[in-house]
């Protein structure tokens, strides 16, 4: 191991689902303590804490320290939409890489069970009012629902449909079959919020949320947390053989935002920044998409998974539908995607997602994934995207020891 390599020494996630008896600090503490145990170190050794939480009131990191150890280290409270967890991880990695700390800790926790529809809204005009232009669009009434949609299911539905317009080959059924795959995968994941296999008919005939996304094709709002301990190769050399054996190398850690594109003001562009992040990540890691043994990508909606096959360059440009049809992304295929069940069944406690998907990859690279193990997995990629936008990509490799 090279001295300046970055390694995940310990990583953990809580079960995703409904944790009505726990608050975000409980969930975060559970993940942190498990990650420290997994790493074989204590809070005393941690030099920096990057704490992600999106929907809480702020100050999550300090609240968490009160429950797991107030050692006076710097806390970075981070929010970056659905890329919050990946941003926390990247923050800890940057601190280690800069040589400021030996061990960095990243955590993401969210309480989202029963949150319902995200995005959209705005109060209706009351009777007796006067039309008055407000905001940057000078609007006299809410625009959501009158000038397009602000809802997440609707936004990502359009992302998938736009891909269809550009390249053809998409249909309601195609998107539903992507969801069928992820729900089928979830049956093997005891950490998933939902472990239910659906038939294609059940998915297509479930409640329509925003065509072509029905309810099971949407990410599941739930509670959960995940945490990771990172260190440098130099530090890892000083640790025990067992710690070295289980450590997972972070060969790429990338965060991007959406560069200007003509249409990005009317439909968030989730493509360019993902493609940019992927390009940088493959270059950093020195691997090609064909080297990936498994991928956890941001399937916040079935319509999103399709476009990210292309954005992550898992298939030639424009051929995501054919790629899926070939069976490549099933766990038995050439590039298994979302063997955890993905956000549609594992769940999407926003700030936890970007670390939990790294946990899933590490679990396979450590050969500890039990019945859902991808046999012989050596290299994996974890991807998240948050609207606004932010994209995190991490490539991980097993140590080979």
């Amino acid at each position: 191991m090279a001295s300046d390599d970055i390694w995940i020494l310990g990583i953990a996630m809580t079960k995703f689902g409904k944790h009505s008896d726990k608050d975000i600090v409980d969930l975060g503490a559970e993940a942190v303590m498990a990650a420290l145990t997994d790493a074989g170190i204590s809070m005393r050794e941690i030099g920096v804490l990057a704490a992600g939480n999106l929907m809480g009131g702020g100050g999550f990191g300090q609240m968490l320290q009160k429950q797991v150890g107030q050692t006076g280290i710097p806390v970075y409270n981070v929010t970056n939409a659905c890329a919050t967890g990946a941003t926390a991880l990247r923050t800890a990695i940057m601190a280690v890489r800069a040589g400021e700390v030996k061990f960095g800790l990243a955590v993401g926790a969210e309480k989202l069970a029963g949150a319902g529809l995200l995005g959209g809204g705005g109060s209706a005009k009351k009777d007796g009012n006067k039309w008055e232009p407000k905001g940057r669009f000078g609007s006299v009434a809410p625009t959501d629902g009158r000038i397009g949609t602000d809802t997440m299911p609707g936004t990502f539905a359009q992302v998938g449909m736009e891909y269809g317009h550009k390249y053809g080959g998409v249909s309601f059924e195609l998107f539903a079959r992507i969801s069928e795959k992820n729900h089928a995968h979830s049956v093997l994941n005891p950490m998933a919020a939902y472990q239910k296999r659906f038939t294609l008919d059940e998915i297509m005939n479930d409640m329509m949320i925003s065509y072509p996304n029905t309810r099971p094709m949407c990410s599941a709002n739930c509670d959960g947390a995940a945490a990771a301990v990172v260190c440098s190769g130099e530090t890892l050399k000083s640790l025990s053989p067992e710690q070295q054996r289980r450590a997972i190398k972070v060969t790429a850690s990338v965060l991007t935002t959406d560069p200007y594109q003509e249409a990005c003001q009317v439909l968030p562009d989730v493509n360019t920044l993902t493609r940019n992040a992927a390009k940088i990540a493959y270059e950093q890691a020195g691997v090609a998409p064909s080297d990936l043994d498994l991928v956890e990508l941001h399937d916040c909606f079935a319509t999103a998974e399709l476009v990210h096959y292309d954005n992550l360059m898992l298939c030639p440009e424009g051929s995501a539908a054919d790629f899926f049809d070939s069976g490549a992304t099933w766990r038995t295929g050439s590039t298994p995607v979302n063997v955890s069940g993905g956000l549609q069944s594992k769940g999407h406690p926003i700030a936890a997602t970007g670390i939990a998907n790294v946990w899933e990859i590490c679990h396979h690279l450590r050969n500890e994934a039990g019945s859902r193990q991808i046999v012989g997995a050596k290299v994996g990629l974890a991807h998240v995207i948050g609207l606004g936008s932010a994209c995190g990509v991490h490539i991980l490799e097993r140590s080979g020891r």
Partner: protein, 131 residues
């Protein structure tokens, strides 16, 4: 005293309602909202540019589940108006996958959002199928 007010400031009413964008003088990037500088080239000079009133539906969704107070179902979409992307509802059409198609030709139309206490009518826009 005007009798009509547009839903958003980038809708110009009158005999031929149309959308207007803030166009960056330096690079031509178009924005519907107020901008401090151009997101593409950082230029700070903008001019008004009329957006074509006909276009092609490049993406759509049929929203069946929305925030309280938003009537459903409705068709939300992205219209390519001769190179300028516009976000809008597709109206005057059945909100079903059988009646709305990617690539369909649409044109700008307006409708009333209601009248306030002072008798001013707010006017919104959408796109409807074009022959």
């Amino acid at each position: 005293m005007p009798t009509q007010i547009p839903h958003v400031s980038y809708l110009e009413l009158g005999d031929r309602p149309h959308l207007v964008a803030h166009e960056c003088v330096a690079c031509g990037a178009r924005f519907f909202d107020r901008r401090n500088a151009c997101a593409n080239c950082f230029g700070t000079e903008f001019r008004k540019a009329m957006v074509a009133t006909e276009g092609v539906l490049r993406a759509f969704t049929i929203v069946a589940f929305a925030a309280p107070g938003v009537p459903v179902p409705f068709v939300a979409g992205i219209v390519d108006c001769a190179g300028t992307s516009v976000r809008a509802n597709v109206i005057n059409v059945d909100p079903t996958p059988e009646k709305v198609a990617l690539g369909m030709k649409v044109r700008l139309t307006t409708y009333s959002l209601g009248v306030d206490d002072e008798g001013v009518e707010a006017v919104g826009f959408g796109f409807e199928p074009a022959p």
